[in-house]
Symmetry: C2
Subunit: 292 residues, 2 copies
């Protein structure tokens, strides 16, 4: 275990929350080396911690993936395996993890040349898939996801050393303002919110259904929002949003009839491979955080 | 008890949901007799079932009412009385009912000449306050309100005979797309969704915290939304939204730091006073539904 004196981003070990300055770059390679995004877009990502690209994939492509998603959900309808996460208080599937590992069509998506080019540009190195999943936010009963920084969890529970990872979410439905879209606090990626409390062993089993540890406090959230506001990028199915591992994000519930499902891929730099978790606890299983 | 053969809007008595055509006017007096709203606005209300008026009240006025609201919440912090409704699973106040009866400042708001003029125009008669409350949707933890028609409840549980009532919601904070604003299905006021199931006695005690009966089914909601879409009027504090008693509406949760509180007044026509509840059960108490 790495001693806490070397931990740049300590969390869940102090009785009070702390705001710590980010010690890592956001964009690791500023010299444009791909044609998928331009200099201004890269600058936008660096400043805000995210980038939204409307209609990155076309309708035909999305229709095909939705068919695959449907088949995947049908296949796992009654599956009793840890990769399949269900809604609190129901048997509805909320997420299926490790789709890049278990299903060739989803593996191919994570290897898409356009996405790979952008991700390598931002992270300035080769990359690998740290985590992948499909998320289904059903109409009528879609639950909220409270505010969080992914990095806080990946660092504390998985041992990701530095902020050199990002998520890519591919929308399989139109996102509008009312169906519980992803909300981001622009600029929040520059601050690490050290959360209070200590997570119990095997915390992931409940946290994937409802978050209880590693939850940022209200005062820190108020501060970040007062500085950056809240953006909820909305657009057509096939749009993608890329966001930094430390940007604060969440989403409200969805009572509209419009479902909101997406393919979610986390890329990590090969120079940022996982270490022993900073919590000192057992690492989470491979389907949540690739270690091999 | 009025026999079900005379009930134009039966609900909670059939095993299947039904869509019934509205049997009542929406605008009872089309000849403009006030200067607060224009002919096109009245036509908008008739077509869509609601009307949003941004900045109807100015900032000074809103600031004064917010002070009154704060005092009211403080006063009722530990109050153990039925008018004070708390969030499920916490002691936070969600609503305080009968504010027009118990607090002079709120009584005065319900008598505001501008609002009264519009309401009498639409309902085509003198009016009285059927229900009043203040609603507090806190930041971070504001819960959702599922889709419902107010009239379905007022008719079934309170004995309101016809659709000749409307709600006026006065925003005490800015409403934006992300802090759980009121969502309305335009045009849905022309259809009565007869809900399945039968409510138990004293249903109101739990339904004010979480709705379980009189809930429209997903297929009916999908149908209404496919025809009218969803609108979430947003604007400045001091804006008002007037909406028909039968328009389908609801709101998502609110994880943003921005609270959303409002003063909520239901006006009913004096020609539409409450009868025996159509459910055949005991009427709800006066603080929810004025009978005297």
């Amino acid at each position: 275990m790495i001693s806490s004196t070397h931990d740049l981003y300590p969390s869940r070990m102090y009785p009070e929350p702390k705001l710590l300055e980010r010690q890592d770059p956001v964009v690791y390679n500023r010299r444009i080396q791909q044609s998928e995004i331009q200099e201004e877009q890269l600058a936008f990502y660096e400043r805000n911690g995210y980038l939204f690209l409307d209609r990155f994939f076309d309708e035909t492509q999305v229709a095909e993936w939705k068919k695959e998603l449907k088949a995947l959900l049908e296949l796992n309808k009654h599956a009793d395996k840890p990769e399949v996460i269900r809604e609190p208080g129901s048997e509805e599937i909320r997420s299926v993890f490790a789709v890049h590992r278990d299903y060739p069509v989803f593996r191919n998506i994570t290897q898409h040349p356009g996405i790979q080019a952008i991700v390598k540009q931002i992270l300035g190195s080769e990359v690998y898939v740290h985590q992948s999943r499909i998320n289904v936010k059903k109409g009528f009963t879609g639950k909220e996801f409270y505010w969080h920084s992914d990095f806080e969890t990946w660092h504390t529970e998985d041992g990701m050393p530095r902020m050199r990872a990002l998520s890519c979410s591919i929308a399989l439905e139109d996102n509008n303002a009312n169906n519980g879209p992803l909300m981001i606090v622009p600029g929040s990626h520059r601050t690490f919110v050290s959360c209070v409390g200590e997570a119990p062993d095997e915390h992931y089993k409940s946290s994937l259904r409802r978050q209880e540890y590693g939850v940022p406090d209200q005062e820190s959230l108020r501060h970040l929002v007062s500085q950056g506001g809240i953006e909820a990028p909305t657009g057509k199915a096939g749009s993608i949003v890329l966001f930094d591992c430390n940007v604060m994000h969440g989403s409200n519930s969805n009572i509209t009839p419009y479902p909101r499902s997406n393919i979610f891929i986390v890329y990590n730099s090969v120079e940022n491979r996982l270490q022993t978790p900073y919590s000192g606890k057992q690492p989470r299983p491979d389907f949540i955080a690739t270690r091999s």
